[in-house]
Amino acid sequence: MEHYRSHVLICAGTGCISSGSKKVEAALREQLTQKGLDKEVKIVETGCHGFCEMGPLVIVYPEGVFYIHVQETDVADIVEEHLYKGRIVERLLYKEIGSHEGIPNYKDIDFYKKQMRIILANCGHIDPEEINDYIAIGGYEALGTALTTMNPDEVIDEVKKSGLRGRGGGGFPSGLKWGFARKTPGEKKYVICNADEGDPGAFMDRSLLEGDPHRVLEGMAICGYAIGADEGYLYVRAEYPLAIKRLRIAIKQAEELGLIGDNIFGSGFNFHLKIKEGAGAFVCGEETALMASIEGQRGVPRSRPPFPAVSGLWGKPTNINNVETFANVPQIITKGADWYASIGTEHSKGTKVFALTGRINHTGLAEVPMGITMRQIIYDIGGGIPAGKKFKAVQIGGPSGGCLPEELLDMSVDYDSLIKVGAMMGSGGLVVMDETTCMVDISKFFLSFTQAESCGKCTPCREGTKRMLEILTRITEGQGKEGDIELLEVLAKNIKTTALCGLGQTAPNPVLSTLRYFRHEYEAHIKEKCCPAGACTGLTQYNISEVCKGCGLCTKECPVVAISGEKKGLHIIDQEKCIKCGACMAKCPFKAITKG
């Protein structure tokens, strides 16, 4: 085996690639060769580190020095200073919020320090296209343990005891689900991995598949053994080309080593995996719709029971879990259910990966133990709200979830507490909003999403979400009427109780939760015809204040010639003509134009 004195890890996740990490890698390769360091320093392309905001990311081992926003032009410094002379390149270090001090080691950065990385442990640290990297740190050990020392019932008991619950949204106990599929008699059974991550604002599954695909495959194989299935499908969104590519490589490598295929570890257990690319339909994240889609039909849900564990793919008993759920399984087998159950709260065990996005300093992926508070996630890990703005709400659980206000920041984040306050874990997207976000607009945004993605099979979802969206649209346009709020509530309640599948049943949640915590914003839109956040263009007005020096820049900028005034005199905006594009405000050198 070759030895290297240094390893340079370059993030090759979707985020960093689009920030230019491929160019950085090419430059690094070239300059290392030029300096004759290519035999001493190894370049490793890794999956996502989860700190996408700071990309492209480069880590130099053995020191663990963490460089951020690395561009092609910075490579010379890293090679010359760090790799050649052993000096850290200060200017490329992450600077702490507040003190602005550079932090060399990634383990000391708040964003990582306060996380508990179990599922994401390998992401960013191994080459996802190299199975030996995964095996070297204990990969496939769990599968070996399960196949050679445990019977299927023991595997299921272990998963039950660990308290693992589905990470796709519902939070159903995984061991119980596996048990149902095992109990159903049948020669042929299936395991399906739901990688149709469609919630806007969630990308942990994509990062896992791109950064540590074998962990998911191993989890699926263990599940196959437990329930008695010899075939598995990974249903992946077509929008994730890199994840699909890495999964294909991973499956091929695992097959070559006999870790997937026939007679694994000489145990007589056979397990084969196939990838199915989704074709662009959010509703296919619903398990019955997903199975219809694999079967080559329109992805339309059907009523349950029968549940997939009884009659699933092609009528055979099937177990479906999402990516993150399967990723939890190998560690439960190797480290034991007791260890796993020691993390988290009484009814929510283990860790959860959250995707932090929106108005927050550190966007990225954060894995934390269940039961942590929202405040810790947003402020300690996420670094708070940028540009000195005030926190307003956090949206959790995507289009099925809800918006939580500041008062609830200190509550425990777990499945049951979130349901109580009208939100849900969902897939774990956390979108942070500040004072400039309008809550009516946000609930309209989510509803227009679910409305567009409604499959049209059942009436409450097809028609009901349409009516709700119409009402929200007229409220944001200043046409809201007395009684609109009450009508929204009635519709929401009916849709929740009568829609066929999870998509429809949870579609009203964003509206209900914003009504619960931000009702005054709805009222302001309807009664006072104003948008407190200044986000609804139909309700905002631009005005020029006394500060105006009459320079005339705004008149040149205005696309509809709505601004007039004498040179060096106060200008005014014709509200009839104004289209509220905001171009004048952006251009004004004296900040004389206000929005309200």
Partner: protein, 164 residues
């Protein structure tokens, strides 16, 4: 012209179904292969022409109505020719709160088409997508398989220029 001309995906009337036959051969006997067949056919033809779907229906012994149902259900499939470059502007939550609307507006203005439209020179098709999953870089867009993040309206012309 180069020698690839004879295998050009749009082909002449006569060899239009050669591609389809090859695709069907690949999936022969595979259960539930309609969606992969459609995906491959769209890759080969650029879109799903009516004649190809009719031929597919006959050879796969699936009613054309059912195929039409599947094609129109999934947003990935297209019944009309599309541009050489597909622009997908993300409309996800993170992008929404970071100004995705202005990005879409800018592209619409620059290309003089609406979302869902194709430029007359068939160079660009503009679409919106619910979420690309690159929320850390919001607002983002994809052109073909390339992702561009941290967009501002000012950054758009430069990105488009790469594909002209």
């Amino acid at each position: 012209m180069n020698s690839n001309q004879s295998t050009c995906c749009c082909g002449g009337k006569n060899n239009q179904f050669n591609n389809l036959d090859e695709i069907l051969k690949k999936y022969q006997g595979v259960k539930g292969s309609l969606i992969p067949v459609l995906q491959d056919a769209q890759k080969a033809y650029g879109y799903l022409p009516k004649e190809v779907l009719e031929n597919m229906a006959e050879k796969m012994d699936i009613p054309i109505s059912e195929i039409y149902g599947v094609v129109t259900f999934y947003s990935q499939f297209h019944l009309k020719p599309r541009g050489k470059n597909i622009i997908r502007v993300c409309q996800g939550t993170a992008c929404h709160v970071r100004g995705a609307k202005t990005i879409l507006q800018e592209i619409e203005d620059k290309l003089k088409i609406q979302a869902g439209g194709t430029t007359t020179d068939l160079l660009f098709t503009l679409e919106t997508v619910a979420c690309i999953g690159a929320c850390g870089l919001a607002p983002v867009l994809m052109i073909n398989d390339n992702t561009y993040g941290r967009l501002t309206p000012e950054s758009i012309p430069e990105i488009l220029a790469k594909y002209r």
